[in-house]
Subunit: 155 residues, 2 copies
């Protein structure tokens, strides 16, 4: 994702968030905005702990509870997707046009590789259409052994 695309994504995201806050009659807050800025900057799936530990050493040091509250708010606003990889922590990803990726997850070392595949996306749309669904988002996780772990396993 290049710089221009990222800026467009961020703009879209802040717009949607402002709309949501206005509609729900909620207030802005510095901490929340810093958390979200970091989230957008990282531009990948993150856990609450990830965001917390990155920000606590900075000038803004939100409490972990605030990070959780922020992520839950974004979830309610439909702006992030929450999923669970097998290490026990929930991870969150931005839901914005053009930002989606799927995951290859190693069942041995828990490494996660992100990928995109337009053909799969097209087929998903076809399936959705067949069942009369209007898709909002999706989640595709492929589990298996990465090259290294497959080798290690064979030894």
């Amino acid at each position: 994702m290049n710089q221009e695309m990222r800026e467009k994504k961020d703009e879209w995201f802040w717009d949607k968030l402002d709309q949501y806050l206005a509609k729900a009659q909620l207030k802005q807050s510095k901490q929340r905005n810093f958390i979200i800025e970091e989230f957008l900057r990282l531009n990948t799936h993150v856990s609450a702990e990830d965001l917390y530990s990155r920000l606590k050493s900075s000038e803004h040091n939100p409490g972990l509870a605030t990070v959780y509250r922020t992520l839950n708010l974004l979830k309610e606003a439909g702006l992030v997707d929450q999923k669970q990889f097998s290490d026990g922590k929930a991870v969150f990803e931005i839901l914005a046009p053009g930002t989606h990726h799927d995951h290859l997850i190693c069942v041995a070392c828990h490494k996660v590789i992100e990928f995109e595949n337009d053909e799969i996306e097209t087929l998903q749309e076809e399936v959705a259409k067949r069942y009369g669904f209007r898709l909002t988002h999706h989640s595709l996780d492929l589990f298996g052994y990465c090259t290294e772990c497959w080798k290690a396993r064979a030894d």
Copy 2:
């Protein structure tokens, strides 16, 4: 899934489990087998708590820890898939040939439609190969509005 398919699935499952136990030099156990029988009987996603509460009122009343240990063993054996629903509890699903489905999930009414699509599966294999992964299983969830909820939303 009809009776015959289910029996085939169960047979496959117990075979694989026995192989795993033998290879890992583990022992059989009554409690574990009762837990697994119930799991196979239910033939759907279950949480540890689900199995525990179903069995504790029966003659076999395994401890909750044993249920967790059994499910983790099955996971290590690659015989079940663990997923997280939004209620916080992990759910487990049998991984056996011919039992896999992907899901279309309505974000409004939470209806779930199962589907299969061979073309998508083929593309998944291609992606995996490209990254050097040996796939064990996958999880594809498509979220959106079903026909009814989309109409209702427009009103």
